[in-house]
């Protein structure tokens, strides 16, 4: 429905004689670019999840653990409020994915334009990307990323305006101008980074606004029930089912904490920190496994264009993990994502760096 509406808009826009509308043929033109041969590399072996086990302090519904009985014990996420606006934004992500994120079917310029319409709907993805901050980074008290100059001063904390928004918008505009499939990969990576950062951020601010726990749940699952998931969750479930399962437990832990601590401003910060850590560990591991899977997809691509797509995705999304990697692993990842040529990537080293994450 969304896409249909968007295409209708596009049809109207492209069909009128508005002088500001570029030539339709130019928009439809595919990128005249040589992506070279596919890289010759060995896809990393699937991550070993056999050692994965929750911590003793982790929450799991129905488990005999240290957590008091709470609303999450039936294994379902019980919303603080029935309506969660973030679900619509994940829906927009999925609609954009249908348009752009298939490396085997390069999008046209019109697809990018339609994707931008979806991205920049009123109260849509862009409105939240522009204000996203990452509270895991320490900044002086009162730092406000909405103020001019602050994102430039604290780019890690103000990840939305400093990094993600220019990244995503730049990708869309590049695609509109030249239908570059690697631009789609950057958009995909940027949006996934946003969903990852948002899941974390909303878990943090749930302390003073209980409904932000709902947003955390929605940014991860897209509002799906029964351990399902759209958006970020769909990617994690595909790349690392165990991480997806643990992420669900983390969301349930978050909700359990807010059920047990239902004051306007939460007071049980110890339980809060346990829940946050459980969720953060799971989704960070999941995010790393997505990159690992894409490295494999790059090696298995079979043609240069698809490989370039996956490499563009990995090198764009890789920096999302800098804050959580150890020093040597970070150095490895930084060195690899600096490479333009996917054929030059040390896939094994990159995968090993990602394997350093604790299995949730």
């Amino acid at each position: 429905m969304r896409i249909l509406a968007c295409l209708l808009i596009l049809a109207g826009a492209c069909g009128d004689d508005d002088a500001s509308t570029p030539d339709a043929a130019a928009l439809d033109g595919a990128l005249d670019r040589d992506f070279g041969p596919a890289p010759t590399c060995d896809a990393p072996a699937p991550a070993d999840s056999s050692s994965c086990a929750p911590l003793a302090t982790d929450y799991a519904p129905g488990a005999d653990d240290t957590w008091d009985a709470c609303v999450s014990d039936d294994g379902e996420y019980h919303r603080v409020q029935e309506s969660i606006s973030s679900i619509a934004r994940v829906g927009a992500f999925e609609a954009i994915a249908d348009l752009l994120f298939d490396p085997a079917a390069p999008p046209t310029s019109d697809d990018f334009l339609a994707a931008r319409m979806l991205y920049q709907e009123e109260e849509g993805l862009d409105s939240r990307v522009a204000r996203r901050y990452d509270p895991r980074f320490e900044v002086p008290e009162g730092t406000d990323c909405t103020q001019p100059g602050v994102p430039e001063e604290f780019p890690d904390y103000c990840v939305g305006p400093a990094t993600l928004q220019p990244l995503i918008l730049g990708g869309l505009n590049q695609g509109i101008a030249a239908a570059d499939p690697t631009a789609a990969a950057r958009v995909e990576a940027g949006l996934l980074w946003f969903l990852y950062a948002s899941t974390n951020k909303e878990a943090y601010t749930c302390t003073t606004a209980a409904k932000d726990c709902d947003s955390s749940y929605a940014y991860y699952t897209g509002g799906e029930a029964a351990r399902g998931g759209l958006g970020f969750a769909r990617y994690v479930a595909e790349a690392a089912p165990v991480a997806h399962d643990r992420a669900w437990d983390g969301l349930l832990a978050l909700r359990c904490w807010r059920d047990l601590d239902d004051a306007e401003t939460a007071t049980d910060l110890e339980t809060r920190d346990l829940a946050r850590a459980q969720l953060d560990t799971a989704i960070t591991y999941g995010f790393a496994q997505i990159l690992r899977a894409r490295l494999g997809a790059m090696c298995d691509a079979g043609n240069g264009e698809v490989a370039a797509y996956h490499w563009a995705f990995v090198r764009t999304a890789g920096p999302a993990l800098y804050a959580t990697l150890g020093a040597s692993e970070r150095a490895t990842v930084e060195a690899q994502v600096a490479l333009d040529d996917p054929g030059a990537v040390d896939v094994a080293a990159f995968a090993a760096a990602l394997d350093a994450y604790d299995c949730p």
């Binding site: 969304r2 920049q120 709907e121 204000r131 990323c145 909405t146 918008l169 306007e264």
Partner: protein, 739 residues
């Protein structure tokens, strides 16, 4: 005599058409305590109602920034400001489309008057207003649909009529400066009179900068330090001040505006007590950001929803006065165009939205009184009919501004459905009987029909609308005068409001979230019962009212779920809270009281105080978190009051005065209030503001007025407002030229 903002007004004074010798003597403001007799308001519902008048002289002394602002000292009225360039008077707890606005007999309410506080009365240029009158309580018999909470009538400055020798030219200039928002502006006016004809021309302009408030108004409960919104409401945001921490910033983003006005009117006496007139009033507001959306809560500070232009043009012609059989004739033919362009800029995102709404209104209103029996028992019949036709054009577009060339896409619909229409026809009659010298009885009724139609827009999931609403309302009143200086008054008045185009078709971002239409709404109906008493002595005027208003099928906002949003409305689906208007099941109830006392002391000292209280509750609409049973109505003002004192020195023309305006905290919040980013968590704190006034008038040619406001430099918000009230500052007005 003549004390207080509440004026005794003759029941059928026909005041603007008094004999020339009386009318030509311009009142001397120096002789006016609070200006109550400086202007005589033309008769409308009679002195039997609870009403207050603000005169030109009072406005000159108080120096309001806008026409609604001039009502802040009126009992029963609170003035909410969604932005710096708009203000919406609450009358007995109701506002927006539940209060009728009238300018010189022309109804200003149109089919797109918005629910809740709106900006429209701000477009009446304060500099052109001769007096304001607030009639509190329902009044649909005289004023038709929308008159649930009351009626606010603005009467323009009119040229004096009367025989003169030759041609008389009266140029006048007014200049004003305000320090809190660095307002600079003025008005130039020229009156030309000859024979029985007068022409008045005026132009005005002002440039208003960002408003400096008293500081951050913080939450009353809860809190934390994670985000700015944990400390204080997200609205308003403040401009960075390098030398101060954020908690001490004061200059508010999303404030400031520009305004230009023009007016021309010609009045001619066509019979001894009958005046013909034609007038044109133009208002042009530009670059007026909406404070609560400039930026939106949590959004980058450079994002802004701004009213690029809000242009209102009103042209009308008519007759006023006595015309044989028709006493107090008021016949007006009018045309009004309201043109609004809003723009949401998100520069970092390279996107811009723009919406255009225009409503063209044609109106015809007739009213007259015919005495049926002059001897006791006296009987008089007042009757009238009116009709208005509002045609709405609306559209919107989205543009990608960072593409070369810029790409622009038309949105399938604007805030309203293009080519919508609202037609309203009504007629009323009111009988007044005075069987005894001390007793007067009044009763009246109105029949009204309102038709609303709008085309469908399948792409946005908007259904067509074709509705007809018929209403019959009545009123009755008793006035007993046990003494010629005292009166006891009892009134029972019905009010009704047919859902308008805004209710039935509008989609818009409102303060607490996104509001979408409900094409199935039914009219809301009110019943106001009020009991009042007045004492009017030479040295004391005292008036008190207690009242209750019961609203059936009240149209209120209910929080909806995302799944309820209309199709293809991402701004609804992505908003924090979607809202829809519904008819509340059962009755809502407001009650309260107002009082005013004005005292005239020796040595030209005058004192006046007012006290107002309103309390409102309605049935729970089943919103999330709403308790079952009864819940507070949205944004009902708290207990509030004023006190003013003044001393004047007639020999020199000097005067000095002081004022105190206060409001208690309001912690009775509706569900939508609790999620409103303008309202502090736990409710709006109370406040008390002190101001000093002084002035000097030299003959009839020069007047200087000074106002020092908010002497305590208090950080305060009027309940429900976006803006923090002006910081400590001054306003200066200089007027040159003959009155």
């Amino acid at each position: 005599m003549a004390l207080g903002a509440l004026a005794f007004v003759p029941l059928r004074a026909g005041a603007q058409d008094d004999p020339p010798d009386a009318e030509d003597v311009a009142p001397d403001p120096a002789e006016v305590a609070f200006g109550a007799e400086a202007e005589v308001v033309p008769d409308e519902p009679g002195e039997s109602r609870a009403r207050s008048t603000v005169t030109r002289a009072a406005m000159d002394e108080r120096q309001p920034q806008s026409t609604p602002d001039a009502l802040r000292w009126v009992p029963g009225v609170a003035v909410q400001q969604t932005s710096h360039a708009q203000a919406s008077p609450y009358v007995r707890g109701l506002t927006g489309q539940r209060v009728v606005h009238v300018f010189d007999g022309v109804r200003l309410n149109t089919g797109i008057y918005r629910q809740g506080p709106n900006q429209y009365f701000f477009t009446v240029d304060e500099a052109t207003v001769g007096s304001l009158e607030v009639v509190r309580g329902s009044g649909s018999v005289r004023y038709g649909s929308d008159a649930l909470g009351g009626v606010i009538r603005a009467e323009p400055l009119r040229p004096h009529l009367g025989p003169v020798e030759g041609v008389v030219w009266r140029p006048r200039v007014r200049l004003r400066y305000g320090s809190a928002d660095r307002e600079v502006g003025g008005r130039a006016q020229l009156q030309v009179r000859w024979d029985d004809t007068a022409v008045q021309l005026g132009v005005g302009y002002r440039d208003v900068d960002r408003l400096r408030g008293g500081g951050v108004v913080r939450h009353r409960t809860g809190g934390g330090t994670l985000t700015r919104g944990d400390v204080a409401p997200w609205v308003p945001r403040f401009a960075e001040e390098a030398d101060s921490p954020p908690s001490e910033w004061r200059t508010q983003l999303g404030t400031g505006f520009r305004e230009a006005t023009f007016d021309v009117r010609i009045d001619r006496r066509v019979a001894p007590k009958l005046r013909a007139f034609a007038a044109l009033y133009g208002y042009r507001q530009m670059d007026a950001p909406r404070t609560d959306q400039c930026p939106a809560p949590e959004a980058p500070v450079d994002e802004c929803l701004s009213i690029d232009r809000q242009w209102r043009t009103l042209a009308y012609a008519g007759l006023r006065g006595d015309a044989g059989f028709f006493r107090d004739l008021a016949l007006t033919v009018s045309y009004q165009r309201h043109d609004e362009r809003r723009r949401r800029d998100r520069p970092r995102s390279g996107v811009r939205f723009r919406w255009d709404d225009r409503v063209d209104s044609l109106g015809l209103a007739f009213r007259a009184t015919t005495p049926l029996r002059e001897a006791m028992p006296r009987v008089a019949l007042t009757y009238g009919a009116d009709g208005y036709r509002d045609e709405v054009h609306s559209g919107g577009e989205q543009a990608f501004t960072d593409l070369e060339p810029e790409r622009v896409f038309a949105l399938s619909r604007g805030q309203y459905l293009d080519d919508s229409l609202q037609v309203s026809l009504g007629a009323f009659a009111e009988l007044e009987v005075q069987p005894l010298r001390w007793l007067t009885a009044r009763a009246g009724a109105r029949g009204q029909i309102v038709e609303v139609s709008a085309p469908s827009d399948p792409e946005s999931g908007s259904a067509s609308v074709d509705r007809t609403f018929r209403s019959l309302v009545g009123r009755m009143g008793l006035e007993a005068r046990p003494h010629r200086r005292a009166a006891i008054l009892l009134n029972v008045d019905q009010g009704f409001r047919a859902p308008n185009l805004d209710d039935l078709t509008g989609r818009q971002q409102v303060g607490p979230g996104f509001q979408f239409e409900n094409a199935d709404l039914q009219p809301e109906r009110a019943l106001t019962s009020e009991l009042g008493g007045r004492v009017d002595l030479d040295w004391l005027r005292f008036e008190v009212w207690v009242w209750t208003t019961r609203i059936r099928d009240g149209i209120q906002r209910v929080v909806r779920e995302i799944a309820d949003c209309p199709p293809s409305t991402p701004d609804c689906q992505g908003s924090r809270d979607p809202f829809q208007l519904v008819n509340a099941p059962g009755s809502s109830r407001l009650f309260g009281g107002e009082g005013v006392a004005a005292l005239s002391l020796p040595q030209h000292v005058a004192l006046q105080g007012t006290l107002s209280y309103a309390w409102g509750e309605g049935p729970s609409l089943g919103d999330r978190f709403a308790p079952a049973g009864r819940v507070p109505l949205s944004r009902v003002p708290p207990l509030q009051g004023t006190f003013e004192g003044k001393w004047r020195h007639p020999a020199t023309g000097l005067w000095v005065g002081a004022g105190l305006r206060w409001a208690a905290a309001q912690d009775r919040l509706a569900v939508s209030d609790a999620s409103d980013p303008r309202i502090p968590r736990g409710g709006t704190p109370g406040y008390a503001l002190v101001e000093l006034r002084a002035g000097w008038r030299w003959k009839d040619w020069l007047q200087v007025s000074v106002l020092a406001h908010n002497l305590g430099d208090v950080a305060y918000k009027v309940h429900g407002s976006s803006i923090v009230g002006p910081a400590r500052g001054v306003r200066l007005t200089l007027e040159l030229g003959p009155r």
